[in-house]
């Protein structure tokens, strides 16, 4: 086994292969970054919407709750398939990357909105009462009082979830998006040893997620003590 690895290593780490793997890594990162950015923005909107008490917004609140509760209970793989088969007739010719990214957005929105919501809820009631007494409107209250105090409750779990999304994007390889896992499969299909192919891919994923989970642990420690 080891002779085979040594024999293949120079061939495996050739320049085109490395570029191929790096491009795939970029795609994995791209899906995660786009998905999490959209997830954060929409998730924040959903979280704020769920805090609202106006009766006019009741149907929207119901939709938001239903959305969050369903999408947190469906496997990412099934979401990928559904998005694929829905988008495919609606927007012909949309690339597989787009389809996978939309799926990541959907799932990231559901999970991150829950994280953000519990972060917003962690702000003590007195703070909100104080802001109301000072005649803040709801937007000012959100931007100047609630959000600045809830970041430290939101960021550590959010970072943990982003690590989860990085790992979830590996399932997009089944659609044929040339991200890290699919790149690994292609290299193995070309005849490289699976130990080498998937091992290198594993290291690549690790290089993407480990800094982030260290950052999450650091944030948790630092923000908890302050």
């Amino acid at each position: 086994m080891f002779e085979r690895l040594l024999e293949e290593a120079p061939l495996f780490f050739s320049y085109p292969n490395l570029v191929f793997i790096l491009e795939a890594m970029g795609r994995t990162l791209g899906m995660t970054v786009i998905g999490c950015t959209v997830g954060f923005v929409v998730g924040l909107m959903i979280a704020v919407l769920r805090r609202s008490t106006s009766r006019m917004l009741l149907p929207f609140r119901a939709i938001a709750i239903a959305y969050v509760e369903t999408f947190r209970r469906i496997p990412f793989l099934v979401i990928l398939f559904i998005v694929l088969f829905v988008i495919e007739p609606l927007m012909p010719g949309s690339s597989l990357f787009v389809i996978a990214t939309v799926s990541v957005c959907l799932i990231a929105t559901a999970f991150l909105s829950e994280v953000i919501r519990s972060g917003l809820e962690s702000v003590p009631e007195q703070q909100i009462e104080g802001a109301r007494t000072l005649n803040f409107n709801s937007l000012q209250m959100l931007l100047l009082v609630i959000l600045p105090q809830s970041w430290k409750m939101i960021l550590p779990p959010a970072a943990a979830f982003i690590v989860m999304f990085i790992k979830d994007t590996s399932l997009a390889s089944q659609l044929g998006v040339i991200e890290l896992t699919f790149a690994g499969k292609m290299l193995v299909n070309r005849g490289f040893s699976p130990v080498l192919g998937f091992g290198v891919i594993l290291v690549c994923y690790f290089a993407l997620s480990y800094p982030l989970s260290r950052f999450a642990a650091y944030l948790e420690k630092r923000l908890a003590s302050s």
């Binding site: 086994m1 369903t70 469906i74 398939f81 495919e88 044929g176 091992g199 594993l202 994923y205």
Partner: protein, 258 residues
């Protein structure tokens, strides 16, 4: 895919291939489909018993990997808290490695790379081992939080009061541990139910695998996967409700379902 198997296990590719063919086929009559697509659930409903049997296999996978993972996690947590420096480092390495890489790639390694070393796993075994090792890593972290939630002073107080070792565990340690770990533990079980869907990619016929089987037959993909999504929702809601009730009854933990 290079895999020197007996052939029956070699079915990680068809999912992806059949999807690609279907996309190519759709491009021609897309406009018709856009306007005229009507959802028809009848064929999927006919296959409901088949899907539900798949759901049972999904639960089996989740249960087995959860309990085996708990055993690993228990040892890992105790080793991480009370172990020597070297054991602590080894356990940390295992946890960091498995929590920072996708389960799919880990199982690929087990499934395609181990045959090089002369170990040939069936797809089900590979998935179970992969998920168990994954679960073990996460549960080590969860259970460790439980173990360190018991303060030394409380144990000392209990010994001072003359509690026996059994009483100490039952009345002092267990409530603390249960309270700390119950919510993450039940969340993790739900995660495992969802995560076991990747077994489909190795040809295991659990819920998602059966959905893929059906949809390649009846070509009602949207309907099939919607129904399957519904089954997953029902499964996880039942699981978290049961766990919340058990937690309330046995450990007086107020766990939330939603």
């Amino acid at each position: 895919m290079v895999r020197h198997a007996d052939g029956s296990a070699d079915n990680a590719e068809p999912v992806f291939l059949s999807l690609l063919f279907r996309i190519a086929g759709h491009q021609h009559h897309v406009n018709h489909r856009l306007m005229n697509y009507t959802l028809q659930f009848s064929e999927v409903i006919d296959d409901l018993p088949y899907l539900l049997a798949g759901a049972a296999i999904t639960l089996q996978i989740a249960f087995i990997s959860f309990w085996c993972g708990t055993v690993i996690g228990l040892f890992g947590a105790v080793a991480k808290v009370y172990g020597s420096n070297a054991t602590r480092k080894a356990v940390s390495f295992y946890v960091i490695l498995f929590t920072n890489t996708p389960a799919l790639v880990q199982i690929f390694l087990l499934y395609y790379a181990l045959p090089d070393a002369g170990i040939l796993l069936s797809s089900m075994t590979a998935v179970l081992i992969g998920l168990t090792l994954n679960a073990g890593a996460y549960l080590t972290e969860i259970l460790r939080a439980g173990v360190i939630s018991v303060r030394r002073s409380e144990i000392e107080a209990a010994t001072t009061l003359g509690m026996s070792r059994l009483q100490l565990v039952r009345y002092v340690m267990l409530p603390h541990i249960a309270k700390t770990i119950y919510a993450p533990l039940s969340n993790f079980f739900v995660w495992l139910v969802l995560g076991s869907s990747l077994a489909a990619l190795f040809g295991v016929e659990e819920l998602t695998g059966r959905a893929i089987n059906i949809s390649t037959g009846n070509l009602r993909s949207i309907e099939t996967f919607t129904v399957v999504a519904g089954i997953y929702i029902v499964l996880t809601v039942i699981a978290s409700t049961t766990l919340a009730l058990v937690g309330r009854w046995a450990f007086r933990v107020k766990a939330k379902v939603f």
